[in-house]
């Protein structure tokens, strides 16, 4: 881990010193030991703030969109899952390849902050987290607590498809074993949900959607959401004046419509980075929605996980005579 961080800092400092990029978007230490925070280094000195580890869940690719209309060159640190989002943005011409330096990091899995914090006894202060490879040691002012790392692994990591970046100009470390585990079928939960009858599905999602705060964190963290103006915020065009899209009304139907529209809009774009689910403050299992889309796109159109390469075409932006349909 230490070498990766050193390599990352060295490369970032080199890029910044040589003016090859104006900014390196990476991770820096957070305000407590169980988190990191996005870091925007613009000088070689600031490159020393960069860090890397199992608490870097944020998908930083989203931030590229903030700079898409500028003419500066940027570098961004990506994990395997994040790197799919890079390909997606390149494919959608949301960011030009020549203005981008991709700094890849080998990822052995990311940890769930909430599960870590739940192990800290009341009154104890988490001071550091040590990663011994197999075990994770939570260092507190009241003593050291050791746990198998798996205990804190994020759900998405059990089903990791690519723990090494699928696109990178610089790799900060040697490949590491994938955190993916046997027995975690990619679609297991989706299959389970599909098996329910429609009334049970309805009540399951009613329960989830009714808790939604409509804070839009899922959308704002989502690298697939690259629209300059989101449909939910459009100045209402005539045809939907009495419609409900874009309303801030928090009610079950409004919330359900919000999520259903999002589900449809990320088809062929969602790279399953899991940011939506991570940022949701009320714990809505959003990946269960978007993984359904991934599964159906795979079955109906033979589409793989978006962003695995820049060659694949999104199933909804291509017509093939043999596409399944029922409307002709």
């Amino acid at each position: 881990m230490k070498t990766v961080v050193d390599n990352l800092r060295r490369e970032a400092a080199r890029l910044l010193a040589g003016d090859e990029v104006k900014m390196v978007i990476g991770y820096a230490a957070g305000t407590d030991a169980a988190r990191t925070t996005p870091c925007f280094a613009t000088t070689p000195e600031q490159a020393a703030l960069l860090t890397w580890g199992p608490l870097c869940a944020n998908n930083l690719v989203k931030y590229l969109l903030d700079y898409r209309f500028e003419d500066t060159r940027l570098a961004v640190v990506v994990k395997g899952c994040d790197s799919r989002a890079v390909n997606r943005l390149l494919q959608d011409l949301q960011f030009p390849r020549q203005r981008l330096v991709v700094l890849g990091v080998p990822c052995g899995g990311q940890l769930d902050r909430a599960s870590i914090l739940s192990e800290i006894p009341p009154g104890a202060r988490l001071q550091d987290i040590e990663d011994t490879g197999e075990d994770l040691v939570l260092v507190t002012d009241k003593g050291r607590l050791s746990f198998p790392k798996d205990r804190f692994l994020m759900d998405k990591c059990y089903r990791c498809e690519t723990n090494m970046p699928v696109v990178a100009d610089f790799l900060a470390g040697e490949p590491v074993p994938s955190p993916a585990r046997e027995g975690f079928e990619h679609t297991a939960e989706v299959d389970g949900m599909e098996a329910l009858d429609i009334a049970d599905k309805s009540s399951f999602w009613d329960n989830e959607f009714s808790r939604c705060l409509r804070c839009t964190a899922c959308r704002n963290a989502c690298p697939a959401c690259s629209c300059k103006e989101c449909v939910f915020e459009q100045a209402v065009p005539g045809w939907q004046q009495s419609g409900i899209i874009g309303s801030k009304v928090n009610s079950l139907p409004e919330n359900a419509v919000f999520h259903l529209i999002r589900m449809f809009h990320v088809t062929g774009r969602c790279v399953d980075c899991g940011e939506c689910e991570r940022v949701c403050p009320v714990g809505i299992p959003l990946r269960l929605l978007y993984r359904k889309v991934l599964k159906d796109a795979r079955i109906l159109y033979g589409a793989g996980t978006p962003g695995m390469s820049t060659e694949t075409v999104s199933p909804l932006s291509e017509f093939r005579p043999d596409d399944p349909e029922e409307f002709m």
């Binding site: 009304v249 009610s251 079950l252 359900a256 159906d296």
Partner: protein
């Protein structure tokens, strides 16, 4: 088709969505499909899931 499967997944009757390809010259088909759709929706009853406070 994808969207109908999504609807079903969140518990909406997929029959509430119908997409038909009808050319500008097929007036009779429009009438027929509309009639069929209307009956289908009648049979499904009101869409209570999407009903709002109004």
């Amino acid at each position: 088709m994808l969207f109908k499967q999504m609807m079903e997944y969140v518990g909406l009757e997929p029959d509430r969505l119908q997409i038909r390809w009808i050319s500008g010259s097929e007036g009779a088909k429009v009438a027929e499909v509309t009639r069929e759709m209307t009956e289908r929706i009648r049979a499904l009853g009101p869409n209570t899931k999407m009903r709002d406070v109004k």
